[in-house]
């Protein structure tokens, strides 16, 4: 038994860390947030050069053939650097959906084109988690119509993989009948949109759609949790660093127990999340009977701990935490965004109860 990361996994994470350390500095992130959308493309190209996005694509289709644990380790880094990146929808969820729900021809076609960099998918499965305002899509023949809300990955997507009732369909973003409404969320490092479709041509995936949609949601939940975990790690470290530097009453504020204990609480709640995240990600590929439950557990728990750390770290920073000068709010908002997508804590806990036969 070995509960921990392999040397290769640590190296993978270091590679991503080194890249983001220069390419995803806070100034760049600010630029993207303030409308310079070219950064997402640049970062994407850089990550593609490292091969990182192809982590879940099988080797047969030109990918790396690795697992959800590796994907989660990458996403943790992206969360640490609040990187404008659609890794979760484009290379986590979409690839998981295609791996599970596409026939061999479709897999070769779409995964091959994704690996080649020609296609980047966004995903819309919000309604499969819970449909608000009667949103939803319907497939008729090879056409799809209706509304998909909170479609993820709009910053780089050329195509969208969409849940439509009990079908999964891919559309070209530039097709006739596609109407996009950009949404402004608290998190300016990522882009979500509403899609209103009117008889749009689509490629309906040939496999069983429900398991594929479930796989997308499970992987998406693990990766959103990984992102929040990375962001929360940074918020804790920033709080500790600031408290050692900032002086009041002729002492660093970090020497006051009131402040120290806030930091200790953050650390004590965050550290076990690392092991939960590793296991939940590992289980997706290696303990399939526990995969869905663990994705609910990790998403709900890290959302709660992340929220606690987001507010506590901001408080430790005092007035500075509240300003834009420090940019701490990018991490705060990243965690807030992740919490609501693909099911908030109450929803994911309900799903966990259903999976265990505790609720209908």
């Amino acid at each position: 038994m070995y509960f921990g990361l392999s040397e290769d996994q640590v190296m993978l994470q270091d590679t991503v860390r080194r890249f983001l350390d220069t390419e995803s500095e806070l100034d760049h992130v600010r630029g993207f947030a303030n409308g310079d959308t070219t950064l997402a493309g640049k970062l994407h190209a850089g990550l593609m050069e490292l091969g990182v996005p192809l982590v879940l694509i099988p080797e047969a289709q030109g990918g790396l053939g690795m697992g959800v644990l590796e994907a989660a380790l990458i996403q943790e880094m992206l969360g640490r650097y609040v990187t404008p990146s659609a890794f979760t929808p484009a290379y986590g969820m979409a690839v998981a959906g295609l791996n599970t729900g596409a026939n061999a021809d479709q897999r070769n076609n779409w995964l091959g084109r994704i690996a080649g960099g020609e296609v980047i998918l966004g995903v819309g499965v919000t309604e499969a988690v819970g449909a608000r305002e009667d949103a939803g899509l319907t497939v008729t023949g090879d056409k799809v119509s209706g509304r998909a809300s909170f479609v993820m990955g709009a910053e780089t997507a050329t195509h969208f993989l969409l849940g439509a009732g009990n079908a999964l369909a891919i559309i070209d973003r530039s097709s006739d009948g596609v109407q996009e409404t950009a949404l402004t969320t608290i998190d300016k490092t990522r882009r979500v949109i509403m899609l209103d479709l009117d008889n749009v041509a689509c490629d309906v995936l040939d496999g069983a759609a429900q398991p594929a949609i479930d796989a997308m949601i499970n992987v998406g939940r693990v990766l959103l949790a990984a992102d929040s975990f990375g962001a929360a790690e940074v918020m804790l470290q920033k709080a500790v660093d600031y408290s050692k530097d900032r002086e009041q009453f002729n002492r660093p504020i970090g020497s006051f127990q009131a402040v120290k204990h806030m930091c200790a609480d953050m650390a004590a709640r965050l550290e076990p999340c690392r092991s939960l995240l590793w296991y939940a990600a590992y289980a997706q590929d290696n303990v399939p009977e526990e995969g869905p439950l663990m994705s609910c557990m990790v998403k709900s728990h890290i959302s709660e701990v992340g929220k606690f750390i987001a507010r506590t770290s901001t408080e430790v920073h005092g007035g500075m935490g509240f300003t834009d000068l420090m940019g701490l709010h990018y991490w705060f908002k990243r965690i807030g965004f992740n919490r609501q997508l693909l099911g908030g804590p109450e929803k994911t806990r309900h799903d966990a109860a259903v999976l265990q036969g505790f609720a209908k």
């Binding site: 038994m1 070995y2 020497s255 204990h261 092991s275 939960l276 728990h301 966990a352 109860a353 609720a359």
Partner: protein, 397 residues
């Protein structure tokens, strides 16, 4: 990550299982906690002979002499727990004094004390805390004055578990009153039968006397009953404090507690419907389940690190704080879902699970306070784990 056991460890697991199967009749019940229980001592003997107690301690002192292997220790713990059979005796003598003697004791002391302690023939209590020395343990005032070849001890200890049954005490006393507080303490071993010792049971909120107060009046202890040198007691004691923190907070215990609550919620009803149908109760259960899993996996990570001889850093430092708090919140949920039945106590008719949930709820609060209070744990986490500055020292008048 590799959660499979190699063939060697699979074989070891089967070996533990067959041992448990073959010896089920000899095992005392889990509720048999008597330190003088003959059945427990007989069981301890079997465990010692087979390497399931004192596994890695040297054979010359009555241990089994196995190479330390964190994974094997975990497998043993898992299998004993699964079989619902008790492991070895786990008093403060075995858990704290024995490791201390192995590290700091003289050959004579090791020879004399370790083997009978391991067998359960010699029961120890720990004389550390005092009414005026809790979190600030080093300020303890029980004095030991050298008169000829004896220390003469006067003072009072508190929170002394098993003091009434113990044969011996390992005790911190102030031998150098003029030295700085950490350098004036010595670590003494003496018999609880020594004249001048009075033990008074300390009744707690649970209705039981889990602890005692111990009073010393002119207690005469031979001067060679010291571990380490005069004034080194703080250093000697700190080795054992580390052992105590590792001893508390068991993630598998939390998991079985959680599963018991889930059973209660499925079995018991309110207005004819199972408690589990109540969405708010259920939400609390699942929220705690996620925390139980997180601590379970954190524990697996610690096992791997121990096995690989790697430091666990923060992952280890948070176990006492998080583990005790989690157990307390589990008991709290059990009581809340049972509603009025949750307040039944002692031998009340209609009581559930022999009243263990209220007892656990109260006793766990004691564990949050004892063995290094939650606030002290947070100081340790922030100062040693996060490298935050210490509280400035208040200068003495």
């Amino acid at each position: 990550m590799d959660l499979n056991l190699t063939l060697e460890y699979q074989a070891f697991r089967s070996e533990v299982k067959s041992f448990l199967d073959a010896h089920r009749d000899q095992a005392p019940s889990l509720s048999d906690r008597g330190v003088r229980s003959e059945k427990r001592k007989a069981w301890q003997k079997i465990l010692l002979e087979n390497g399931y107690a004192a596994r890695t301690l040297p054979t010359q002192y009555g241990g089994y002499g196995a190479t330390p292997d964190a994974l094997k220790s975990r497998i043993i713990a898992e299998e004993f727990s699964r079989a619902k059979m008790p492991g070895g005796i786990a008093g403060q003598g075995i858990n704290m004094l024995v490791p201390t003697l192995l590290e700091m004791g003289t050959d004579d002391q090791k020879e004399k004390y370790i083997a009978p302690t391991l067998r359960g023939d010699m029961v120890w209590c720990q004389g550390y805390s005092e009414p005026g020395a809790g979190s600030d343990l080093a300020s303890l005032r029980t004095s030991a004055v050298l008169e000829g070849d004896h220390f003469v001890i006067n003072g009072q200890k508190i929170w002394t578990s098993t003091a009434a049954q113990a044969d011996m005490i390992f005790c911190l006393v102030r031998t150098e009153p003029d030295a700085p507080k950490h350098q004036g303490i010595s670590y003494l071993l003496f018999s609880m039968d020594t004249p001048g010792i009075e033990v008074r049971p300390l009744m707690t909120m649970t209705g039981h006397a889990e602890f005692n107060e111990v009073f010393f009046t002119d207690v005469r202890v031979p001067a060679d009953q010291i571990v380490g040198k005069r004034g080194e007691g703080w250093m000697v004691a700190n080795a054992t404090l580390t052992h105590e923190r590792g001893m508390l907070g068991d993630p598998d215990a939390a998991l079985s507690r959680l599963n018991s609550i889930a059973e209660i919620m499925q079995k018991e009803t309110i207005d004819g419907a199972p408690l589990m149908d109540n969405a708010v109760y259920r939400d609390r259960l699942i929220a705690l389940q996620a925390e139980v899993f997180a601590m379970k996996f954190n524990g697996m990570r610690l096992t791997t690190n121990a096995h690989e001889k790697k430091s666990s850093g923060m992952a280890g430092m948070i176990v006492k704080l998080q583990g005790c708090e989690l157990n307390h919140r589990l008991a709290e949920l059990a009581i809340d879902v049972m509603g009025e039945y949750g307040i039944l106590f002692e031998d009340s008719p209609f009581i559930r699970d022999k009243g263990m949930w209220q007892t656990a709820y109260m006793f766990d609060l004691g564990l949050i306070i004892g063995g290094g209070s939650a606030q002290i744990q947070k100081n340790i986490i922030s100062e040693r784990g996060l490298d935050m500055p210490r509280e400035p020292k208040v200068t003495k008048k």
